[in-house]
Amino acid sequence: MNENLKQLKVSAIENGTVIDHIPAGAVFQVIRILKLDKFDDMVLFGTNLESKKYGTKGIIKVSNKYFSPEDINKIALVAPHASIIEISDYGVTAKKIVEIPDKVKGIVKCFNPNCVTNHEQLSTKFDVVDKEEIRLKCNYCEKITVKNNMEFR
């Protein structure tokens, strides 16, 4: 009963993708990373929802949109435990978890103020050198950006 009520806090979608188990503080970052702020179909979201596993969580439901693994994995940096649920005709057709990618393009800012990516108009590129701790090595200045000083562009 409770379970059903909770589900209703963010209404169901007919077709599209549900991104569940987003850390409550990261919902807006996920929206930005996936460019959902510029999406023209319906996007529903909730944050600070109750979660048995994590205490609180956020959820986003995107109508009529299915993401490529390459796109969806971009959110792994801010929502490493997110589940991706694909919906068709109100039913679940696929369930996936995100994976930390080997390379990260764009999204993250290099923490080194003297890095060329913070001086010129060009997008950042990183190799993920540690997937557990999330350590990103800049392809340009070769410095390592860690989780604590990670800023999103």
């Binding site: 290099c110 080194n112 003297n114 890095c115 060329v116 990516t117 001086h119 010129e120 108009q121 060009l122 800049c138 392809n139 340009y140 200045c141 070769e142 410095k143 390592i144």
Partner: protein, 302 residues
């Protein structure tokens, strides 16, 4: 290695590095040639440099090539707010090869990505300075007869010195034993030590110069920069703890050579200059041959 930019020392494999060193030996025997007479090299120095810029330009001139460029950003369009992107795209049209020093880290990688001609990094901030590494390797092989199984002592600012970082990483290919002498505040960063550990090589850390040098085949001195210290008294205390003088060199191996990327301030007493173990000025000369070899190789002339 035709058209292959050199931004980081690891852009070139061990074999490619050794090929440059072999080629450098040829140029040392015959430094004046005309192989570059049809080529224009752009020498773009966005910040001051003496040795690197002049040795590149000397290398080009001795091979009959032409140099265009600038030695500081002040008289260029950069001053008018031109982006590095536009500067590089423009100058790539005027030259066959770009040599660039720029204080912004990663600028050389960026330039190499967008330029239609190859780029040699002559220093990008505190990041990389690969031609210094090649000339250091050349100086080591020339004085020791080999690069393998040597004991190399690094002294001074091991934290910020980019020449130290690149050389340590390059030497990890040669079963080197590292002796690292620095004040606690200026120890070799863990990101560089990681390379030593990956290859299971041995390193020792010291705070006293005298403890390390009896082991060394090569003594690589560096300058401790005043601006790295928040406490000026701390700097005064430390700077005088690593001054190399002739009497310290008495208890060292016969084959020991003292190297230094230069400029030197006071860390090597000038009376060491005439010691047969002093090698830093020859080391700077080697830079010309190594840069000739590198440019000839990138332009496909060798």
């Amino acid at each position: 290695m035709k058209n292959k930019s050199l931004v980081s020392i690891n852009d070139y494999s061990k074999e490619e590095q050794l090929r440059i060193l072999e080629l450098a030996r040829e140029f040392e025997k015959k430094p004046v040639q005309t192989i570059m007479q049809d080529y224009v090299v752009a020498s773009l120095f966005f910040e001051p440099s003496t040795r690197t810029r002049l040795s590149f330009e000397s290398a080009v001139n001795r091979l009959g090539g032409k140099v265009i460029g600038f030695s500081e950003a002040a008289n260029t369009s950069v001053k008018k707010g031109e982006s590095l992107r536009d500067t590089i795209l423009t100058i790539a049209n005027y030259s066959d090869l770009i040599v660039m020093r720029n204080p912004v880290e990663g600028s050389a990688r960026f330039a190499a990505e967008i330029s239609s001609v190859p780029v040699i990094n002559a220093g990008d901030g505190a990041n990389q300075h690969p031609t210094q590494t090649l000339l250091d390797l050349y100086s080591i092989v020339k004085t020791q007869g080999t690069l393998d199984n040597l004991h190399v002592a690094f002294v001074g600012d091991l934290k910020y010195g980019r020449t130290v970082h690149s050389l340590v990483i390059a030497l990890c290919n040669y079963n080197t034993t590292f002796h690292l002498v620095s004040p606690i505040e200026l120890k070799l960063p863990s990101s560089v030590k990681m390379h030593i550990k990956e290859k299971n090589l041995t390193y020792h850390q010291y705070t006293e110069l005298e403890e390390a040098i009896p082991h060394a085949d090569v003594l690589y001195m560096t300058r401790i920069q005043k601006e790295r210290f928040s406490d000026p008294l701390e700097y005064e205390r430390i700077k005088n703890s690593y001054i190399l003088s002739n009497n310290i060199l008495n208890n060292t191996k016969e084959n020991l050579k003292v190297m230094h990327p230069l400029p030197r301030v006071n860390e090597i007493n000038i009376n060491v200059d005439s010691n047969p173990k002093a090698y830093y000025f020859e080391q700077a000369l080697n830079g010309v041959y190594v840069r000739q070899a590198l440019m000839a190789s990138i332009l496909g002339l060798r």
